[in-house]
C-alpha cells in the first residue's frame, strides 16, 4: 500500500512501512556535490566533524565540477581546486576533475576562446547528466545532491532530491538524513507524443496545470503507458523539472529501458551494478490524480518570469526574441541536439543562438553522428549556431559575467533550459522563455516564438 517514493524511503529507513508525513532517518546510497556547493559543504563538514574527520564512505560521494568552470573568475577556479584537495585528502573514488593532473591547479585561459575545449580526460560535464552517464544512478536507491535538479535521477526509479550544504555536510559525515516522507501526486501519462512535441512540452504542460508551487513538498509519480513510451532521455527531461513545480522528487517506473541504460552505464564505467527497483503496489495512496493525454499536447512555452506561466507556442507568434539557447541538464542531451538539428538543417538562424552540450560525451556524439556525410555538430554550426565544446552549465544559470552565452544586457531569450525567474540567465531585467529544443530551433530561424510544426 505504498507509492514508489514511499517504498524507497521505507527501505532506506529500514522499515516495513512508511506513510506520507512520517519523519524518518534514511540511509543515503550516493551523495553528489559540485563546484558551487561543494566547497561550502566541505566547509560545513570540517567545521562540524573536525579538521581531521573522514567522510562516511569514500565510494559513495561523487564530486562533479560543472557550474563555473570556463571562466577567468579566479574564485571560481579556486573552488575547483578546493574540491581536488579534498578528494585527495579523503581518497574519494569518484571525482570528475577538469584537469588530469591530481596535483595541478585549474586555470581557465580566456585567450583560447570559449569554443575550444579546455578540459582533460576525466571531466564529465553537467552533474545530473554525468551522474547517469557515468553509472551513478540506480533504481530503488536514495540520491542526495547539493543541487535542486538532483530530482532528474528520478527518471531511473530512484528517490533523488536536492539539499543544502548543511544537510549535505551532515550526510558527508554520517551517511544519513532526517527527511519527511512526501505525499505523492500521481500523473498517469496516456497515449504518445505527436511529431513536433517533446518531453519538455509534457513537463511544461504539467507545471502550467498545477502551478509553479503546485507540487511543493510532494513527490510527482509519472507512470502509465505514455510514460513507458518515453525514452530514458525524455524521462530525464521530465523528472528534472519536478522542482519547477516545487516538488521534492519526481519518479518513474522501472522497465526494460531503465534496465538497459543502467546496465550499459554501470558496465562501461565499472560502477556498482547491483540494485533493487521498486514496483507499484496494487493500491497506492495519492494526494491527487492527474491524467495527461500525450496525444493532445502541443508545443508549449513557459513565459517570463516563472516556469508555470504557460502558453502554447502558436499563441505567441508575435513575440520577438533576441536570442536562443540550447543546453543544460534538461535540454542539452544528444537527443535534444538531434531534435534541434532536424529543424534547422540546411537553414540559418536569424538571432544569436548558443549551443552548450551537457557533457563531453555528448560533444563527441554530436561530432560523430553523421547525416549524409555531415556531422550533427557541423549542421548546427553551418546554420549559424555558436557551439562550444566546453560542456557544462554555462549560461543556464547566468554565472560569472564572462560565461559563454550569458545575457549581459536586458534581452529576450528562448531557451531549452529549465528555469526562467528574473535574472536566471544573467541580466536581471532580461527575460527567458522556456521551450523544447524543437521550439527553440524553430524560433531561432524566425526570431519570434515559433511552433516547430509550422515550418
Amino acid at each position: 500500500m505504498m507509492t514508489l517514493t514511499e517504498k524507497i524511503l521505507a527501505r532506506a529507513a529500514g522499515k516495513a512501512q512508511v506513510k506520507a508525513g512520517d519523519n524518518v532517518w534514511v540511509k543515503a546510497d550516493t551523495l553528489m556535490t559540485h563546484d558551487v556547493c561543494g566547497p561550502g559543504t566541505i566547509g560545513v563538514f570540517k567545521r562540524e566533524f573536525g579538521e581531521h574527520a573522514r567522510v562516511w564512505d569514500k565510494e559513495r560521494i561523487v564530486i562533479i565540477p560543472d557550474h563555473y568552470i570556463f571562466t577567468a573568475d579566479s574564485r571560481s577556479n579556486r573552488n575547483v581546486d578546493i574540491l581536488r584537495d579534498f578528494v585527495r585528502e579523503q581518497g574519494l573514488k569518484y571525482f570528475y576533475d577538469v584537469i588530469d593532473d591530481p596535483e595541478g591547479k585549474w586555470v581557465f585561459n580566456p585567450a583560447q576562446g570559449l569554443l575550444k575545449k579546455q578540459y582533460g580526460s576525466q571531466y564529465a560535464g553537467v552533474c545530473h547528466t554525468a551522474l547517469a552517464q557515468r553509472g551513478h544512478t540506480r533504481p530503488g536507491e536514495v540520491l542526495f545532491g547539493t543541487d535542486s535538479h538532483t530530482c532528474m535521477a528520478g527518471a531511473f526509479n530512484q528517490f533523488a532530491t536536492g539539499i543544502g550544504n548543511t544537510d549535505a555536510g551532515f550526510v558527508m559525515g554520517t551517511g544519513k538524513l532526517l527527511i519527511k516522507v512526501p505525499e505523492t501526486m500521481h500523473f498517469r501519462l496516456e497515449g504518445s507524443l505527436q511529431p513536433g512535441v517533446m518531453a519538455k512540452d509534457v513537463i511544461l504542460h504539467i507545471i502550467g496545470e498545477i502551478g509553479f508551487d503546485g507540487a511543493t513538498y510532494r513527490a510527482m509519480q509519472f507512470d502509465g503507458e505514455g510514460a513507458r513510451s518515453l525514452s530514458v532521455d525524455d524521462r530525464m527531461t521530465v523528472a528534472n523539472m519536478a522542482i519547477e513545480a516545487g516538488g521534492k522528487n519526481g519518479i518513474f517506473e522501472f522497465d526494460e529501458k531503465t534496465e538497459a541504460y543502467v546496465r550499459h552505464r554501470t558496465e562501461t564505467n565499472g560502477t556498482r551494478s547491483e540494485y533493487e527497483p521498486v514496483e507499484r503496489d496494487a493500491s497506492e495512496n495519492f494526494f491527487s490524480e492527474h491524467v495527461i493525454d500525450l496525444d493532445k499536447l502541443e508545443p508549449t512555452v513557459a513565459c517570463h518570469p516563472d516556469p508555470g506561466n504557460r502558453r502554447l507556442a502558436r499563441e505567441l507568434s508575435d513575440l520577438g526574441l533576441d536570442r536562443a539557447y540550447i543546453g543544460s541538464c534538461t535540454g542539452g542531451k544528444t537527443s535534444d541536439f538531434i531534435a534541434f538539428a532536424e529543424v534547422i538543417r540546411g537553414k540559418s538562424v536569424v538571432i544569436d543562438t548558443f549551443g552548450v552540450p551537457a557533457t563531453p560525451e555528448i560533444v563527441d556524439e554530436l561530432k560523430s553522428t553523421m547525416w549524409d556525410g555531415t556531422s550533427v555538430w557541423q549542421i548546427m554550426t553551418d546554420a549559424g549556431v555558436q557551439m562550444t565544446e566546453n560542456a557544462g552549465c554555462s549560461a543556464c544559470l547566468g554565472g560569472p559575467v564572462d560565461t559563454f552565452g550569458r545575457m549581459n544586457k536586458p534581452l529576450k531569450c528562448i531557451s531549452a533550459t529549465n528555469r526562467n525567474f528574473p535574472g536566471r540567465m544573467g541580466h536581471k531585467e532580461s527575460q527567458v522563455f522556456l521551450a523544447s529544443p524543437a521550439t527553440v530551433a524553430a524560433s531561432a530561424l524566425t526570431g519570434k516564438v515559433t511552433d516547430p510544426r509550422d515550418l
Binding site: 558551487v36 554520517t174 525567474f421
Partner: protein, 182 residues
C-alpha cells in the same frame, strides 16, 4: 524562550527565487569562510529587478540591511538549493521571513543553518504592509502587531522547527539532543 522580533519590514511579492535572493554570479563565495560570508550579506536580495523594487534591501556600499524582517507572498525561496540564499539574508542581519508560503528547500535550509526563522502568515501581508512599516512579531503567541495602524494579524506556528533555529541550526540542535557527539 520568548521571542519577539521587531523592526521595519522589506516587502516583496510572489515567487522570489534564489537568483533574486543571491544572484548566481556571487555563488563563487564560500559561506563557511568568514570574510566571504560577510560579503554574501552585502548582495542579499540584490537580484530583485530595479523596475519593480526601487529600494535596495542592503543599501549600496553597506554590508547589512536596515530591515530585520522580510515580508513576502507565495513560494518564497523557490528555485535552486543553494544555501547561499538564507545565509546571505542572515548575514545581512535578516532575522525573519514572513511569507504566505515557502519553497521546500529554502525553508529547510533556513532551519538547517539556523540563519533565520521562516514563518508563514495567515493573510497576504505583502499586500497589507509596505516597505518601512514597523511591526513586531511574537513567535510564541503567533501574532504580528503593526505599529502605525495598531492592527494585529495571525501567523502559523513554527512547530518543531522553532527549536532547531533557536539552537542555531541542525548541528547545534543535534548535539544538544545527543543525536551526534560533540
Amino acid at each position: 524562550m520568548s521571542k519577539v522580533i521587531k523592526g521595519p519590514v522589506f516587502v516583496v511579492q510572489d515567487n522570489i527565487d534564489t537568483d533574486q535572493i543571491i544572484p548566481a554570479q556571487y555563488l563563487n563565495l564560500i559561506p563557511t569562510i568568514a570574510e566571504e560570508y560577510e560579503k554574501l550579506g552585502s548582495y542579499a536580495l540584490c537580484g530583485l529587478p530595479d523596475s519593480l523594487y526601487s529600494e535596495r534591501y542592503v543599501p549600496e556600499g553597506q554590508m547589512d540591511s536596515p530591515f530585520p524582517i522580510v515580508v513576502a507572498g507565495r513560494n518564497f525561496g523557490c528555485g535552486s538549493s543553494r544555501e547561499h540564499a538564507p545565509i546571505a539574508m542572515g548575514s545581512a542581519d535578516c532575522q525573519l521571513v514572513l511569507a504566505e508560503s515557502f519553497a521546500r528547500i529554502f525553508f529547510r535550509n533556513c532551519v538547517a543553518t539556523g540563519e533565520l526563522y521562516p514563518c508563514e502568515s495567515e493573510e497576504r501581508l505583502c499586500e497589507i504592509l509596505k516597505t518601512g512599516d514597523v511591526i513586531s512579531v511574537d513567535l510564541d503567541t503567533c501574532q504580528v502587531h503593526v505599529e502605525s495602524t495598531g492592527k494585529t494579524y495571525a501567523i502559523k506556528g513554527l512547530g518543531d522547527v522553532r527549536s532547531v533555529v533557536d539552537a542555531g541550526g541542525l548541528f547545534n540542535y543535534a548535539r544538544q539532543h545527543d543525536m551526534i557527539s560533540s
